[in-house]
């Protein structure tokens, strides 16, 4: 089953490789991994989308907690949560395709953030599934380039991940 694991860790050189090394050494899946500093610059927050049985996810959280630089670990799937991913996508938008492309972007609530003679660059956020659906709807030939961030997530309501 798919899980989203959020990690607070010391914002130090090498911390990321300890986490990614753990996943490769123990054969755990990584679907996506994002990391950036938090409002407290000494801490980074990492979001890992992974999959595995309950036992495997339990081991993953235990092994992560064992890393010395990891401060806190939470499996967002334990409670209601929100996940979002950002995609920047460059599409073919010549005179012929321009209107269609604009409409498609509006339907998916994308924003066109760069325009050239033959291209649009669209910014789109949502769940991974929504981004997949947009790519599907555009069709391969229309797409020139995509850059996706991988999912980031946060719990709903009063649950917070902080120290």
């Amino acid at each position: 089953m798919r899980h989203i694991i959020s990690i607070l860790l010391e914002n130090e050189a090498g911390a990321l490789s300890r986490v990614s090394g753990l996943f490769s050494a123990r054969g755990y899946n990584i679907e996506s991994l994002t990391v950036a500093p938090t409002e407290d610059a000494s801490l980074s927050r990492m979001t890992i989308v992974t999959s595995g049985s309950g036992d495997v996810i339990e081991q993953i959280t235990k092994q992560l907690n064992k890393l010395v630089e990891v401060v806190k670990v939470v499996d967002l799937f334990e409670a209601p949560h929100i996940e979002r991913e950002l995609m920047l996508i460059k599409v073919r938008a010549g005179a012929k395709e321009r209107d269609d492309m604009k409409r498609m972007s509006d339907i998916f609530r994308g924003r066109i953030i760069d325009v050239s003679e033959d291209t649009f660059t669209i910014e789109l956020t949502g769940t991974g599934q929504k981004l997949d659906a947009f790519i599907e709807a555009l069709g391969r030939t229309a797409i020139l380039e995509t850059a996706r961030t991988g999912a980031s997530g946060i719990s709903r309501g009063q649950r917070v991940l902080r120290i």
């Binding site: 860790l9 010391e10 050189a13 090498g14 490789s17 300890r18 090394g21 050494a25 036992d55 339990e58 081991q59 235990k62 092994q63 907690n65 064992k66 010395v68 630089e69 990891v70 401060v71 120290i163």
Partner: protein, 568 residues
């Protein structure tokens, strides 16, 4: 006053009361060696290969409960040390490894003797550090010792670029340290301990299974008290030997791949199992699915939550420092009125005694060729069971574990997790350094011994009177055994051809060498060797080439699917 990084490092080691540093100099650590030269509190032991440095520091730690410290140079110094670091990591041994690094401005430029020490060792250390600023050096050393010794212990590497050893700053060594991201649990959860106590009292076929965690946490007194109080059978893993006295009537022997018949049967058929500082590894319980066929309640006490429910799902997990948890458990049982039902327990013992009649460790005592088991029995008798025994890896290791009855913790020193051939001799050096005057013997084989044979020279330099018991069967015995059992007797590359004359070899290093070829000569030779308390004696026992270690649970088999001697 400002001190150089090298001076600070030595001051840190002094503050940590480090007695010995096992190491080998090189370009990147020259300033550190220069500071070592200028003082005499921290003594340096010059090994002949960095693998030896890490194993010696490891043996020093295992035999003394102190932190083992190794010092190596950059590049090949570090890569040579990796085997020893990984060995310590697998067995959770507290060690601090200091490695030199090329100057900070040269890092990443493929400098001479540069390697990414932190990257290479990351998967086999508890933690590691690259110190880029001399101001961070003292606090990093404090953290390294703190991390190595607390929680589940393990090796910590500190990589120090050469320019950092030259740069100066004010020295201040912190008295204590706390890290927000690292807070090992000490006390077990009272509710869980209560549940455990209740299960123990209600048990009809109980079993206590204790591993290396008992040794590492110095919980042997608590374990012994608990077992005797309850009257339950107790088994130790390879790493746990000595955690419970082997001569006690409650001890059923080691369990696992080469465990006793009675220990493995009791482990499989118990109704309540208490695992203490052990991790249900593949060499201990075999196939977990097979192990899970019998319903039983499992209590698991361990400091490392990730060891719990990893291979075997447990019912009552207790995370905590083993002696603290056992103290609480003992107090709780003592305070209550309930006791295990004596009838059930004696019926269980009757069953175990029946299993014991298999006499699973028997061997041919009339053999005209020296049986390795016989050598170990005699070694046990002659050293009165009180020696520090290190071993290498293979058949000799298993026979030593089976036939030397360890009554005290920290007397049995072997590479259980990683299974590192070459461990025995350097580990014995560390044990002898930590225990001057004590009897230290290295049980080895002609294949393992050659992997760190160069340390014979170190033994001479430091006058370490280690007794080497070489069980020479001219084969990588355990490889040969597997090839006999599982590969149709095709002894692919397991024969040790072109062996040196070990007697002459020992003599050329300035030691005493002995060759023993007849069973009748075993005892006199051992007696003679152990009389020479100030010399290293290498005893080359020419043993039976065909002897196998029994019982044996084949790889991936169930714990009770044992091959016994009679079945062949």
């Amino acid at each position: 006053m400002e001190l150089s990084g090298a001076e600070i490092l030595i001051k840190c080691l002094q503050a940590e009361k480090v007695e010995y540093v096992f190491g080998y100099p090189g370009g990147a650590v020259l300033f550190i060696y220069d500071e070592l030269f200028k003082q005499n509190k921290v003594k340096h032991v010059l090994v002949r290969h960095e693998q030896g440095a890490t194993h010696a520091a490891d043996g020093y730690s295992r035999s003394s409960r102190k932190v083992g410290v190794a010092l190596v140079t950059s590049g090949p110094g570090v890569t040579n040390a990796v085997t020893g670091i990984a060995t310590a990591y697998m067995d959770s041994i507290p060690m601090v490894i200091i490695s030199g690094q090329v100057p900070t401005h040269a890092i990443g430029l493929d400098a001479f003797q540069e390697c990414d020490a932190v990257g290479i060792t990351r998967p086999c250390v508890k933690h590691n550090f690259l110190v880029k600023d001399v101001k961070d050096l003292a606090i990093t050393m404090k953290k390294a010792f703190y991390l190595a010794t607390t929680g589940r212990p393990g090796p910590v590497l500190v990589d120090i670029p050469k320019d950092v050893t030259v740069a100066k700053c004010k020295f201040e060594y912190p008295e204590t340290i706390s890290m927000r991201s690292y807070n090992p649990v000490i006390k077990g959860h009272p509710g869980q301990i209560k549940k455990a106590a209740q299960l123990l009292i209600e048990a009809k076929r109980p079993m206590i299974y204790a591993g290396g965690g008992v040794i590492l946490s110095d919980a042997a007194p608590q374990l012994t008290k608990l077992v005797r109080m309850l009257g339950f059978p107790c088994t130790n893993t390879l790493m746990g030997l000595g955690g419970f006295p082997a001569t006690d009537k409650h001890f059923v022997g080691m369990l696992g791949m080469h465990g006793t018949y009675e220990a493995n049967m009791a482990m499989q058929h118990c109704d309540v199992l208490v695992a203490i500082g052990a991790r249900f590894d593949d060499r201990v319980i075999g196939d977990p699915a097979h192990f899970g066929q019998v319903p039983r309640k499992i209590i698991h006490i361990d400091i490392d939550p990730s060891s719990i429910s990893k291979r075997v799902k447990v019912d009552v997990p207790i995370v905590g420092h083993v002696p603290d948890v056992l103290d609480d458990l003992i107090k709780l049982i003592e305070a209550g009125k309930q006791r295990p039902e004596p009838k059930a327990i004696s019926a269980w013992w009757a069953q175990i005694d029946l299993w014991k009649t298999k006499d699973c460790l028997r061997y041919d005592r009339k053999s005209k060729i020296i049986k390795p088991q016989f050598v170990l029995e005699k070694l046990y008798e002659i050293t009165k069971g009180d020696a520090f025994i290190t071993s290498d890896v293979g058949q000799h290791q298993m026979w030593a574990a089976q036939f030397y009855k360890f009554d005290k913790p920290r007397r049995w020193i072997n590479s259980g997790g990683l299974g590192t051939m070459g461990f025995g001799l350097p580990a014995a050096m560390g044990a002898q350094m930590a225990n001057p005057g004590a009897t230290v013997a290295c049980v080895t084989g002609e294949a393992s011994f050659q992997m760190c044979i160069q340390e014979l020279s170190t033994c001479k330099q430091y006058r370490l009177p280690i007794k080497v018991v070489n069980l020479n069967n001219r084969y990588m015995g355990m490889v040969r055994q597997w090839q006999q059992f599982f590969h149709g007797n095709r002894y692919s590359e397991s024969y040790m051809d072109a062996l040196p004359d070990f007697v002459k070899l020992a003599e050329s290093y300035g030691h005493v060498g002995m060759r023993i070829e007849k069973p009748a000569d075993v005892e006199p030779a051992l007696k003679e060797a152990f009389k020479r308390t100030d010399e290293l004696v290498f005893m080359d026992f020419m043993t039976d080439q065909t002897e196998n270690v029994y019982p044996m649970v084949g790889g991936g088999k169930g714990l009770t699917e044992m091959i016994l001697a009679e079945e062949l």
